[in-house]
Point group: C2
Chain length 188, copies 2
């Protein structure tokens, strides 16, 4: 049996819910960035969405035709304690694993390059109503040592730094980053 | 007497010539960035142009109405030797001075913040067929200690690091940056 109307409605509902979730994470990260900027803790910005401009109406100073380009870098970057920071935010609806389809190959390549040049890069993963700072090195090691196309939730919990949500600061990922940096510098 | 037709034509000519010059500098910096990326020297990208999207045609996946936003940061950023790098490229047509109207107040504020957080920021100034790496600290000192609305060309020549143009590398600003860093680190 077929329920095209119902299926379509369900799809639309999921789409909206998915978009909202994505926006929500972006929103609480933007709040954190505004807080860090205001308190002079870190300078992190979301990069503008890359688009290809096709047509401009010069009289009205408006773009009348353009399309979205695929990002080849991560969404956020900036400086903290003199360090180059770059990261992406990923909301995951699946409760048991994080699919690697979420990250494009050229983004992985870009992360490898950043790490090689002593930059700090990571993902902020939102999953099961918790937020994790997942280091780029851990991600790349996982990809190189596994044939899996997804990362089990248990692996993320064990190998990342949980980020606390704070009503004042938003998603306080710098606090989690400090813990990551402590481990990194201890290793050196 | 009035020559509106001639004036308009002249204006259009200047506009095109100005845009070309701007594009030219952007073009040779992009070449340099591609070279640095390819040779694994530095990872520097031009940020996408910030735009405000007003209308999207979801069926065609096209943006049908949008307008340009004013940038509050600088155009290029990335990582070099573990350092956070951010800069802007400015082409100057005036042969004797560089007008400070080229740089918005919030960009100056942003540069101050970057420097305070031990990032490196600078301008690449194209003037009189020469290119200069002009350190953010020098720029901010000049603004704080002068009432002038422009920087004399002689000041730029004396207080910046000239960038060599190389047919292979494009505008080799990393070589000039190395000289700036040498001076900066010697001071510490």
């Amino acid at each position: 049996m077929n329920y095209p109307g119902k299926a379509k409605k369900q799809f639309k509902k999921e789409l909206i819910s998915h978009a909202n979730r994505g926006m929500e994470l972006e929103h609480i990260i933007n709040d954190a960035n505004a807080y860090y900027l205001d308190k002079n803790i870190a300078i992190i910005y979301k990069k503008p969405t890359p688009i290809n401009i096709v047509k401009i109406d010069y009289d009205k100073k408006r773009i009348t035709d353009a399309f979205f380009k695929e990002a080849s870098t991560l969404d956020y970057n900036g400086v903290y304690k003199g360090l180059y920071i770059e990261f992406d935010a990923k909301e995951c609806n699946n409760k048991t694993s994080f699919t690697l389809r979420n990250i494009h190959d050229h983004q992985i390549k870009h992360m490898e390059r950043i790490l090689e040049h002593h930059g700090i890069c990571f993902l902020i993963i939102g999953m099961n109503c918790r937020y994790f700072l997942f280091d780029g090195n851990t991600l790349i090691d996982f990809i190189n040592n596994n044939d899996r196309k997804s990362i089990p939730y248990s692996f993320i919990v064990e190998n990342s730094f949980e980020i606390k949500y704070n009503y004042l600061k938003g998603l306080d990922y710098i606090e989690a980053l400090d813990r990551l940096l402590e481990v990194k510098y201890e290793k050196r």
